[in-house]
């Protein structure tokens, strides 16, 4: 244990922890808007395009983080334009862009004379090798993403919820759509060092999917997703640091698998909550025809009888073997 504490106190680990916190907050914040628009895989697409950006950085000697930001923003803008034109098969066009980005990246890395291992740092993350300058860049970009995602939440929510209404409300829908695409691109590059370009979408989508198992409002989904994302990225990092005394454990995949484990735990809970809500939804307030008394009724319905109580107009029906029993004086009516 003291080994672990010592490890956590090392400068490279502290930088990694900082990067993990900011990434864990920013990625699910954008991810919530992407999931709301049913664009859950957009982050993945941008991640593929950003590979070319990283490779361009390796080729030209510029900072791969910066070239990745530029190329990812360009890619996100193209994806958004294609999406806005709304072709029914736009997803196929997007796929072309994704694979173009990935193949281009691998090709250019080879041209630059760099090994696959160098590129792999960006594909699967290498949070423990992150430099001081990169930590600053990660923190600043992530802070910008978080401030915009939270501060403009009412506008971004309205645009994602109903574009036509938002336009008639005087919002510049195109600008907001583009803003979300650019934010997604920025958070992809922010998360690149943490979980890697190929796993980045997981950190954007999985916390949101986990949160919405139990939430009913947009705001709680956004907040919970950010909390879950932070917990997963910090937890995954510490877990992999702890495990590193026994085996080679990469932080990126650990973070993603931890987030997925969280989803697997929450999912049955969400299924249970939804089915309970469905069973307890009030019956339509329609009075039954006639007055039909139940057969011999051996026990008394009440809060502790174990039968589901469902509101029905001004009273409560108890669901009993597929029947609806409504208390009426000393007997029960069939409703």
């Amino acid at each position: 244990m003291s080994d672990l504490l010592h490890l956590l106190g090392l400068p490279f680990m502290q930088r990694a922890l900082l990067a993990a916190v900011f990434t864990g907050l920013a990625a699910p914040a954008v991810g919530t808007y992407l999931v709301q628009r049913r664009l859950a895989l957009m982050g993945d697409g941008i991640g593929h395009v950003a590979v070319t950006g990283v490779a361009l950085g390796l080729l030209t000697g510029a900072s791969p983080t910066w070239t990745a930001v530029v190329v990812a923003v360009l890619g996100a803008t193209v994806i958004e334009v294609i999406r806005e034109r709304g072709h029914a098969n736009g997803d196929v066009a997007l796929a072309l862009l994704f694979y173009g980005g990935l193949a281009g990246g691998v090709l250019i890395t080879g041209l630059a004379g760099q090994s696959g291992a160098r590129l792999q740092q960006y594909l699967f993350g290498a949070i423990t090798t992150i430099s001081v300058a990169d930590v600053w860049l990660t923190m600043i970009l992530a802070a910008v993403v978080i401030v915009i995602c939270v501060g403009l939440a009412p506008q971004l929510f309205a645009v994602a919820q109903d574009q036509e209404f938002a336009r008639v409300a005087g919002l510049n829908v195109r600008v907001y759509n583009l803003l979300v695409a650019v934010l997604a691109a920025v958070s992809v590059t922010v998360a690149m060092r943490t979980v890697g370009l190929l796993l980045v979408s997981a950190l954007m989508v999985v916390p949101v999917a986990t949160a919405q198992q139990v939430t009913r409002t947009f705001r709680t989904t956004l907040t919970a997703a950010m909390a879950i994302g932070t917990a997963a990225s910090l937890g995954g990092l510490v877990l992999s640091a702890y495990a590193s005394f026994h085996a080679r454990v990469a932080p990126g995949p650990t973070i993603v698998l931890l987030a997925l484990a969280g989803f697997m735990v929450t999912w049955p809970l969400g299924v249970f909550l939804r089915s309970r809500q469905r069973l307890r939804a009030p019956f339509p307030a329609v009075q039954p025809e006639g007055h039909e008394v139940t057969d011999e009724h051996p026990h008394e319905h009440g809060p502790t009888c174990g039968h589901v109580a469902v509101p029905h107009g001004d009273h409560v029906d108890y669901v009993h073997d597929g029947h609806r029993h409504a208390p009426h004086g000393t007997h029960y009516d069939e409703h």
């Binding site: 709301q36 049913r38 919820q161 938002a166 008639v168």
Partner: protein, 283 residues
């Protein structure tokens, strides 16, 4: 009360170069309750979308509250209730959150909701009778209740001109009655209402004026018509306008929309092509 709120002169709308609406003249005075009627595909929804600026005019001129649409920025005066397209998105949202979006016309960037905003949202929810469901997820509501949420969203912005696109489509009779009561409240308050409807149902007594569309042109504009007059020839007692007679001669004009043809060859050769003309019509 004779200020002209909507003034469309010789308006035409083309979608991807294909003329949809032609030669539309429509003046609506403040406080009027206008029903836009007609068969599916007649262009009534397209007309509403043109009036709200969602479709640009190919020719003609449109003014709202006396301001040409191009320089019109007073969106807080307009409440739009689009056709219900499943109010639920990919992330859960509460009834209150959806209705709160209606205040955006009056909010500045990065500012929290004020007391007046919250009061307006609460009163909008009361008017549509969903005050007790504010915290519920919209996906837990019935179709008719979701439609009422969309109306409350428009109400929350406290506009004085309402556009409602088929609010009663697929809504059961009790919910239609609640919608009609809501619209009566708005109308009494002095709001101008433009309602797209295939059938009026419980709304019929509220209408001041009916505009019947046929194949992208105005076929009738005048006193309210019953559903029967619009959809069946020679049913009404009163002699009808010749234009209506021509319209009615076609008999029951309720067409169901053709599903758009979709072949499964991936259209990847030109991903930037404009989409197939989908005249956003009544579904």
């Amino acid at each position: 009360m004779s200020t002209t709120v909507i003034d469309l002169e010789n308006g035409a709308v083309a979608i991807n170069g294909r003329p949809i609406l032609r030669h539309i003249d429509l003046q609506v005075d403040a406080g009027q309750f206008v029903a836009l009627m007609g068969a599916n595909g007649s262009g009534k929804s397209t007309l509403v979308r043109a009036l709200t600026g969602l479709h640009p005019l190919a020719s003609g001129s449109l003014s709202l509250f006396g301001t040409p649409i191009d320089s019109f920025h007073d969106w807080r005066r307009i409440g739009f209730v689009p056709q219900r397209s499943g109010a639920a998105g990919g992330v859960p949202a509460s009834v209150w959150e959806i209705v709160a979006a209606g205040r955006l016309t009056r909010r500045r960037l990065m500012r929290p909701l004020g007391r007046h905003d919250r009061a307006a949202i609460a009163s909008a929810l009361e008017v549509v009778g969903l005050g007790d469901r504010a915290g519920d997820s919209v996906s837990a509501l019935s179709g008719g209740q979701q439609q009422r949420v969309l109306i409350a969203r428009a109400l929350a912005g406290e506009p004085d001109l309402f556009f409602l696109d088929e609010p009663t489509a697929g809504v059961d009779l009790p919910n239609q009655q609640v919608l009609a009561d809501t619209l009566r409240t708005l109308s009494v308050r002095g709001a101008t209402i433009v309602l797209v409807a295939h059938e009026l149902g419980p709304m019929a007594p509220l209408i001041d004026r009916a505009v019947v569309m046929r194949d992208g042109r105005v076929a009738y504009d005048g006193r309210p018509l019953t559903d029967a007059e619009v959809h069946q020839p020679g049913f009404g007692e009163h002699p009808v306008d010749p234009a209506v007679a021509a319209h009615l001669a076609e008999g029951h004009t309720h067409h169901h929309p053709q599903p758009s043809r979709h072949d499964h060859a991936p259209h990847v050769v030109s991903p930037l092509d404009t989409p197939d003309p989908r005249p956003s019509e009544e579904s």
